[in-house]
Symmetry: C2
Subunit: 306 residues, 2 copies
Amino acid sequence: MKELVFGHKSPDTDAVVAAKAFSYLQNQLGYDTEAVALGELNDETKFVLQHFEEPAPRIISAAKPEVDAVMLVDHNEAQQSVADLKDVQITHVVDHHRIANFETAAPLYYHAEPLGCTSTILFKLFKQNEVTVPAKLAGLMLSAIISDTLLFKSPTTTPEDEAAVKALAEIADVDYQKYGLEMLKAGTNLASKTEQELITADAKSFEMGGKTVRINQVNTVDLNEVFAREAKLRTAIEAENKAQGYDLFLLMVTNILDSNTRLLVVGEPQDVVEKAFNTKLVDNKADLPGVVSRKKQVVPPLQAAF
Amino acid sequence: MKELVFGHKSPDTDAVVAAKAFSYLQNQLGYDTEAVALGELNDETKFVLQHFEEPAPRIISAAKPEVDAVMLVDHNEAQQSVADLKDVQITHVVDHHRIANFETAAPLYYHAEPLGCTSTILFKLFKQNEVTVPAKLAGLMLSAIISDTLLFKSPTTTPEDEAAVKALAEIADVDYQKYGLEMLKAGTNLASKTEQELITADAKSFEMGGKTVRINQVNTVDLNEVFAREAKLRTAIEAENKAQGYDLFLLMVTNILDSNTRLLVVGEPQDVVEKAFNTKLVDNKADLPGVVSRKKQVVPPLQAAF
């Protein structure tokens, strides 16, 4: 019986690649799966797929019309997943995030590790199952790891992520340093984007203390270029909060060259944000030096502060 | 930094053994852990530890006074875990149950598979990490698998469980068929138990449709011996429901020789139980032929009916 495999909404490179990698692995092990995506691909992911001549996945908005069971990668929280998740059985999850707002009626396969990238975990699962990673898939997987770890600059990076990139680079025959920087820059082409795109591209929702918190992160090589559009960004976020019912919106603008983030905070409660990061918001903004990881440096302190 | 490793409240053989096995494995991998238990051991588990001359684990009622972080085995739902679970970090989970009422603030190691026993999963993790299972631990682990699968009669049994028992029996030098039946019978010595013991020994709580559902299972070789005490069991359950705030209590009395269960149901809603098992309760009781597994044959249909 066919199953769909997918990563989170607002897919990033790992969400797309991990779905392809896990689907490939499971098919080798005898399952019948198809990797799909829950939304339009971002510029970085498009660059990656083009570079390795890999077709883009089909985009779905509901699972139940097609299948009875699904496999999740790179996420588990229901609000980050397909809209009708509760109508299908989840048989497998491979992830590297915290677990929250996730529930099943029956036992399942669930494998999570606190590593920098789902694709690193998948590389280990290929080895455990003695399945060879094809060269093209190796290129995609090392791209996902470089994307999630910002070329090993993120504090989420583990020695296993670095080792996986090096091993995959040999299989794919790629100069990962040179290619990795090109790839990251391809994802920072912000000038061509609308404000709406900038606030939704990689956005995720979290339930914290009864509030719906929306957090988006955009990578850049020039903070000033982004904040020149601050007034319009703010207006777009206010409209988005109202339309979607978000209580609090954090826009993380991260400089990938020096690994610092400037935060733009719209909605309430603002004091919880100040408490979480031990800072004062000035004009709804705060600089967070050394912060590049939503998962490791933003969500946990915010959750604790709530 | 030391961590505690433990299975669920009302510990059964797998809860105790899996904690010992995972603690041993993690210590081999460089962690500093101690296996503990969340309550008194049952007769079967005492028989197992005595047989393999293994000391009983220390019993704890709170984790935070001793450690900042814990590892869970054989469970994940908060109501089945240590009372102060929310005050400590969960760094690892190894389990074979559904996931529910489980949440973390940070990423973690979580490995679950839909196999018959946590100890089967652990046996695989020993192999993956190239850690040898000592003979005594092999005896404990095969006992846990035989306990959870009722010597392979439970529908939760997978080929991996059987293969693990056979491999562990070679390491431990045990005739697992003969030993397994002895062990299961040691766990059915119900005559010496009070009604209170019979309704709490292996009990677990579940949140379903806003109700707190308590389910206990006792194994026997003679249903009539148990139901001769029905009136007293019913009184004990009514008192327990009132004292603990349970809405609905299901006592599964399972004949391990012919693999049938008789259900005694106290509390409300009774019609949901009838719907779940497509049966009529007569005098609060129903026979469920072929039902031996709470996890696979009772919780999922009940959850669905709610």
